[in-house]
């Protein structure tokens, strides 16, 4: 669960105001807005990479800013827009690295850790390529595996920065459906930034829209394409 009240985010000056945002477990939101409007800043703030200028971020009833790195890593995981693969790193080993915040000083895996990894492999139906090397995968497979790694981290909140940017149409649709399904099935809060407005509307994904005029983040459980364009991309609305 994410609770934001009057949070100002940005690097030095305030870029975006999060007046009243409330996201429950099992919900997924697409973060939509113009380039430079603050999508990445929002995701970076929620993953603890930058501090908010003002206000408190409450995740699972905890004041997120006051937590140390390890505690943050147990609450929020992050997936970038592209995972390039790493030489000599197998898919299974990559997925297992998601357990890092949960393992002991030596990184030893408990049976519980292994069970979590197996569960995610089953959930994403990636049994067939866990023994392959991450460099050998296609872009679509690699993005799936990157999401798997975040799921293995088993955090209540998952943030994804333009996860569909480098995928073809079919894989984009599949990925968005998968995220939506996972949010409900695994009871996660999922936030992903995206420029795939049509896809998100087709798949009935709720939207966090950055209103260009007011510089505020607005939460919609359903919204029309016209409204998105009018509020988020006013330069092309007529």
């Amino acid at each position: 669960m994410i609770n934001l009240k009057n949070v100002e985010i940005g690097y030095k000056s305030s870029l975006l105001n999060l007046e009243q945002i409330h996201i429950k477990r099992g919900e997924i939101f697409a973060v939509i807005g113009e380039n430079g409007a603050g999508k990445s800043t929002l995701l970076k703030t929620l993953t603890g990479q930058i501090h908010p200028i003002q206000g408190q971020i409450i995740i699972e009833e905890k004041n997120f800013q006051l937590l140390n790195r390890k505690e943050k890593a147990k609450l929020v995981s992050f997936v970038g827009s592209k995972f390039d693969g790493i030489p000599y790193l197998k898919v299974l080993d990559y997925l297992t690295l998601g357990r890092t915040p949960h393992t002991d000083l030596y990184g030893r895996l408990t049976p519980q850790d292994k069970k979590t990894v197996d569960h995610i492999i089953e959930l994403l139906h990636i049994e067939s390529f866990i023994e392959r090397y991450t460099l050998e995968l296609s872009d679509g497979e690699r993005q799936l595996v990157a999401i798997g790694r975040a799921l293995v981290q088993n955090t209540p909140v998952i943030c994804l920065d333009e996860p569909t940017a480098f995928l073809d149409y079919g894989n984009r649709k599949k990925l968005i459906r998968l995220l939506s399904e996972v949010a409900k099935k695994e009871q996660k809060c999922i936030l992903f930034s995206s420029h795939d407005i049509d896809l998100c509307i087709d798949e009935k994904i709720p939207v966090l829209l950055i209103n260009t005029n007011t510089k505020k983040l607005e939460q919609y459980n359903s919204i029309s394409k016209e409204e998105i364009i009018q509020k988020g991309f006013p330069s092309i609305s007529y």
Binding site: T47, G48, Q49, R69, K70, E71, K72, A73, K74, S77, F78, G80, I86, P87, Y88, L89, K90, D93, Y94, L97, G98, T100, P101, T103, L105, Y106, G107, E131, Y133, Q153
Partner: protein, 332 residues
Amino acid sequence: MTQQYRNTLFFLILFLLLITGAVLHLFAGQIEISFHDFYQAIFHFDPTNTNHIIAVEFRFTRLIMAILAGSALSIAGMLMQTLFNNPLAGPYVLGINSGSSLLVALTLMTGVSFFQHDLSIILSALLGALIFGFLILSFSFFVKNNISLLLIGLMLGSFTGAIVTLLQTFSNAQNLKVFTMWTLGTIQQTEMQQIPLILIFYFIGILSCIFLIKPLNSLVLGENASLLLGINLKSLRISTIAITAVLTGLITAFCGPIAFVGLAVPNITRIVFKTQNHGLLLFANLFFGALFLIFCDIIIQYLEPVVSIPINAFTSLIGAPLVILILLKKLK
């Protein structure tokens, strides 16, 4: 499972090669020492028997130093390569060796000896490695980017290199010769009584690596990704550089700068074992590094009647083509 099987097999082969190499190494050299002499030297040492003295003071010490130097430098190289996410990184590149060289040069050639002692070279080298290790450490507090830190290390190396060259031009012939001999590197100057001290530092360095396995494994994903997995990057950097300084400084102090082992061996092990698990890589580098230096030293000893090759030159002679060969094969 197949990979596990393969890796076990590789370790078995490495271990057998290491035993073979160690035995070959003991019997290499121009003076013939029999198996019986070695046995007697261990269990019934006779200080008046020349062969016993050669066995203990020269053969065993040299073998032990080859094992320690090879493994320590390889592990230091592995640590640097993962920390800087760069297969070209090594204790050399960081400038840790240059620290040793600078202090040794100052001690030998200015007459301003830091330590008026027989062990002045050793102490200077150790101190130099530690000073430069901590210098790099303090830079790492200000420089966020690892590549920048690597470049600072390179600059430090060039800078101290220039100072050393200056010192050499003003130095007298005798001191210049001693310094040049040191830079050539040798694993046969160490005495048996120094081994316990070396072993203490060696084990401190190697055993501390166990705490680095987990953070280094996640660092493979990149600095940002490992931060988001809850890794404390700052303490990881400090401890990795400190351990590298101890391992490199120790070996450079007693053997002089030995090039290429720290660069070539970790690259080879990653390719052979095809893994990014640093627990496995740690052991692989330990075995492979020892093996590499043992075999280099065996060849040097067999060539000795014909030509005397310094270990530093020889490791580069073998290491550089080996790295090129590997890169070519990898690119195919």
